[in-house]
Amino acid sequence: MTWPQAEILGIAALSLRIALVATAAACAIGIPAGVWLGGTAFAGKRTVLVLLNTALALPTVVVGLLIYLLLTRHGPLGALGMLFTWRAIALAEIVLAVPIAASLSAAAVQSVDPRVRRTALTLGAGRLRAAWAVAREARFALAAAVAVAFGRVLSEVGAALIVGGNIRAETRTLTTAITLATSQGNFGFAIALGLVLLALALTVNAVLQLLQGRGDA
């Protein structure tokens, strides 16, 4: 038993869309936060970093549950009617990916030679320009943060299942489809879907790598 090709393409496209939107949003929030966190000294910084690293271990089903409670009809954001839409999945993935982007970019910035920031500052750069100089030097590690966030989001299943509901042609992603195919005993098909997922990941990472190579020239 297999599914129509058009349906599989639709599922792959939805997975890709959610992963790209969630990664972009998570990185837009997490990377600047991480760059700030890594490059600024303040009281309690260690505690914040420990909490952030703990957030990396957040069980996806717990995040799914929290977002579910937030979006359910009687929840605080129930009026938005987002539950069981792809946007709800994207929201849950953003919550999961922000700590990844922030934590890895904080680590990336912390490992940059301290002379970079000093040099920018002594040449008259403001805080933003100096942070940009540091981020440029850490670009490989920052690109890795993007890749890891994307990988997490694309392969996540627990939260997607809870807040998306695995509704055919609506919220069925590659991972939730694999869960369904497996529960139906359709192992060959599940593996095929897994390969599609891997192919997507490979493509996106190859594009990232190409962009990095260009930046290095």
Binding site: L121, L123, A125, R129
Partner: protein
Amino acid sequence: MPEGAGPILECRGVRQRYGKRTVLTLDDLVVGGRERLAIVGPNGAGKSTLLRILAFLETPVEGTLALAGTTVGTAAARRAARRRVTLVEQRPFLFRGPVLANVAYGLRARGLTRLEAEREARNALAQLQAQSLEHRDAAQLSGGEAQRVAVARALACAPDVLLLDEPVSGADRAAQHSLYAAIVAAQARRPMAVCVATHQLEDAYRWSDRILALHEGTPAPVTPENIFRVDLPGGGPMQQVRVGDVTFDVVSDRSGPATLAIPPEEIVLSLEPLHSSARNRVAGRVIRVAEQGAAMRVTLEGGVELVALVTRRSFEDLGLAVGRTVYASFKSVAVRVF
């Protein structure tokens, strides 16, 4: 300090600590607007820390700094001050990309357009005879080239104070001369104070108006040459103490570990042993000779290395040169004990 130049930088009661370790104690330092100050001292003396504080990159735990008469106390004031004070680090960092973009960085940060900034950057590179490096990849430069580019990048910002940390390390002798010459020429074009941290005393003496010697984070009463760590035997004002392969007569009531310093200007050089009141005499060979204004700095080795300062005329009269055997004499009261 030349006339007509008021102070540009003033430090009062500055203390810097890293953890529990005090690395700098500087009660009073005033740098004139056109002054050339050399900061000398061994590694770990606090030279780089002082430069980072003067550059407003590090805030001391105690004390105040003022730039052109105005106290710099807030983060905003430090940001503004950094537009007028630029530091070139010992191992300068160059940003990824071509040399020209590096030299233009400070000008771009000051809001100049790319074209304007690059024009100024080319001028700055020309001052350092580094025009040919313009299109080179900054990552591919040798140590000496990187140093020149970093100095050009700092000069391009037209700072009121230029701070240089060991600017000639990694550069050959000719490059060192052109580096200092470029800085002097830049100073001739516009008022600028220059503070150089160096361990090369010959450079410091030849080049600076004033020397600040640092020793374990505090200003030392003498320059760090002819300094010897000894164990005083004690037992009276007149003591004999072993230094290297020779014995010095010193006047001190102290005993135990101490530092001896013999000011180079207190040492008399002669071709024959002197029959004089000077209790200390070292026979040695001249191993280095350097000019210092109207005087000559002569370094001799005779079981211990000593630097003597003599006038150019005496130097010529004695026919001193590297390899020549001379006698260095100095009184025991000239030996400072601290």
